[in-house]
């Protein structure tokens, strides 16, 4: 089971984008952003005074307990929610303009595959909407299936696949139109730890190979530290950013790195940040 396709010549062909720390292009710029939901029980402050900058090629994890607004923040970036105040730009434009230009691929908590479409047709869905030709669609679907190692499953319906395979298909779908920005909302949250470990490693290879910018929501500390260049620790009531921790682990890291002191130190700092943000208080 690999998320990154097999042939080595293909791997070589993809140029590694240079990622000088802190010197890249700003992909996401958020300043003083707040979002309040009006509910029957009064206003809920989902996000409060969020400042965050994400540069091209970064892998940024948003971590925090349930209700800290991490999913809401991702949805604001995707223009699925509208902030109450503050500014946000995606690729230098408003989130709406970026969405209309199909700037990002979004992976949801659940695979959200359409049950009446085969796996290949599900991966082709965005391509159909974006008006790719039939031949181009077929080529990209094949590439996507190779990428997430689902060759031979293209004619299957979603219910015939395991949860992990379904989520891989949904990742292939998000990548099918080659967006430079990938927004992932707890994509592996519903999977068991063994499958999650494998997919984490494969996602890391994919990111390293393609140079995409990834914003990744999680509530797993090891997952966040393992994957990210930057871990954003959020705290609840109201949802705000408590700390931003830079992770300068080697790009060619494997799961073994989790036992190294450097990794454990970063994990400790994330946990401390969560504790300071009262994440462990009932």
């Amino acid at each position: 089971m690999t998320l990154v396709g097999g042939r080595s010549d293909e791997t070589e062909a993809v140029p590694r984008s240079p990622r000088p720390p802190g010197g890249g292009k700003r992909v996401i710029d958020i300043a003083n952003l707040s979002l309040t939901f009006m509910t029957a029980d009064g206003p809920v402050h989902a996000l409060s005074n969020i400042d965050l900058a994400i540069e091209e090629g970064e892998f940024v994890s948003l971590i925090g307990p349930s209700g800290c607004g991490k999913t809401t923040l991702l949805r604001v970036i995707a223009d699925l929610e509208t902030p109450s105040q503050g500014t946000i730009s995606v690729n230098g434009e408003s989130p709406q303009e970026a969405r209309l230009k199909r700037a990002y691929g979004y992976v949801f908590q659940a695979p959200a595959l359409y049950p009446w479409r085969s796996i290949a047709q599900n991966i082709a869905l965005p391509l159909e909407i974006m008006g790719y030709s039939r031949a181009e669609r077929a080529a990209r679907v094949k590439k996507g299936l190779d990428l997430v190692n689902l060759q031979g499953f293209e004619k299957k319906f979603p219910w015939q696949l395991s949860g992990g395979m379904q989520q891989r298909a949904s990742i292939a779908r998000a990548l099918s139109f080659d967006p430079t920005l990938l927004l992932m909302d707890e994509p592996f949250g519903a999977l068991d730890e063994i499958v999650r470990d494998k997919l984490n490693e494969q996602l890391l290879r994919l990111w390293d190979k393609t140079g995409k910018t990834v914003v990744f929501v999680t509530h797993s500390i090891p997952e966040a530290v393992f994957l990210s260049t930057k871990v954003v620790v959020m705290s609840p009531r109201p949802g705000q950013i408590h700390d931003v921790i830079e992770c300068k682990l080697s790009r060619e890291r494997t799961l073994d790195i989790r036992e190294t002191p450097a990794f454990l130190d970063l994990a400790h700092r994330v946990r401390q940040g969560l504790r300071e943000g009262h994440s462990y208080v009932d």
């Binding site: 995707a78 949801f108 659940a110 359409y114 009446w116 085969s118 159909e128």
Partner: protein, 319 residues
């Protein structure tokens, strides 16, 4: 695997002795038990029917014997009499079967005395009405789902339309359409469509709203237009709802066509047959037409059901 029940054991003495049941033997047993259930119920209905015929026609038969001045008759003669009257209150099943045999199989289908002829007339109006009603039903549902104002403004009228008894409305539809020189099959199809669009609209509104928020959000992330969301998400998601509605609608179409034929009987059809039967007190003829209508309904629902199964399998809904 459940142990075989006592009743099944006696029916299949060898089954219980086998250590493991094969797939085919299990399928066969389920089928057999279902066939048994169907037979038992059918038999119970026939017995009740015969009993009903005897009781319902008893007074008529007593009068008949009295008029013929026949005083000493046996119970067997009496019962035989009640089950073979020319104009019984409730005809016995075998009388209806004989009438069906005569009017379906014996008489030339092109004759106006053939039930096949009338059945075809009714089915034509039914199918035309069903097609109009289904298309109208889907279109209305699409409008209602896409415009909040129509949901508020149109839905009450759609519901109200079904509160009016069709038997009161049917003659008016015929008269009004006649004013515009619309005659023949069309007024009957309109009445049939009037009854059948409603279940389709209600079912499709539910079906078009059935996609979950994630599936809808996904379309938004692709900045899909509303027609794209309709054709690629809402319509495919509503297919199971559509078929459930169509099964109700096709039966309603048949009822609509028959009611229309009672109003507008000059072209024939099962409804006209019912009307003529009640006019001349031909209860056997009425019941034969009713049974024919019921068979038509079963066949139509069966066709929609088969279509449902084929489409479900192709769309991956059937597992």
């Amino acid at each position: 695997m459940l142990p075989p029940r006592a009743g099944e054991l006696s029916a299949h003495p060898t089954e219980g002795a086998r250590p493991a049941m094969t797939m085919t033997s299990m399928v066969r047993r389920v089928w057999q038990s279902q066939a048994t259930a169907v037979l038992v119920i059918a038999l119970a209905i026939v017995i009740l029917w015969y009993g009903g015929s005897i009781v319902m026609n008893a007074q008529l038969q007593r009068d008949a014997f009295e008029n013929a001045d026949q005083k000493d008759y046996t119970s067997a003669q009496f019962i035989a009499g009640t089950l073979n009257m020319e104009r019984p209150k409730l005809p016995a099943p075998h009388q209806i079967v004989r009438e069906l045999d005569k009017t379906v199989l014996q008489i030339d289908p092109s004759s106006k005395r053939s039930l096949v002829y009338h059945g075809i007339v009714t089915l034509q109006a039914t199918l035309l009405g069903f097609s109009i009603g289904s298309i109208l039903g889907v279109l209305l549902a699409v409008l209602v789902v896409h415009a909040a104002s129509l949901d508020k403004g149109l839905m009450p009228w759609i519901v109200a339309s079904q509160a009016i008894p069709i038997i009161a409305l049917a003659p008016m539809i015929v008269v009004i359409l006649n004013q515009f020189e619309v005659t023949g099959i069309v007024p009957k199809a309109v009445i049939s469509a009037y009854l059948s669009f409603f279940p389709v609209t209600v079912g499709m509104v539910k079906g078009l709203r059935s996609p979950d928020p994630l599936q809808l959000d996904l379309m938004r992330t692709y900045s899909a237009s509303r027609p794209e969301t309709l054709f690629k998400l809402r319509l495919p998601a509503s297919v199971p709802f559509l078929f459930a509605s169509l099964k109700v609608a096709v039966a309603a179409s048949l009822v609509g066509a028959i009611v229309a034929e009672v109003t507008k009987s000059e072209d024939g059809g099962l409804g006209a047959r019912l009307l003529a039967g009640s006019y001349y007190g031909q209860t056997v003829q009425i019941w034969a037409a009713l049974i024919a209508a019921a068979i038509c309904a079963c066949v139509l629902i069966g066709i929609v059901g088969s279509l449902d199964r084929v489409v479900s399998r192709r769309m991956g809904y059937a597992r």
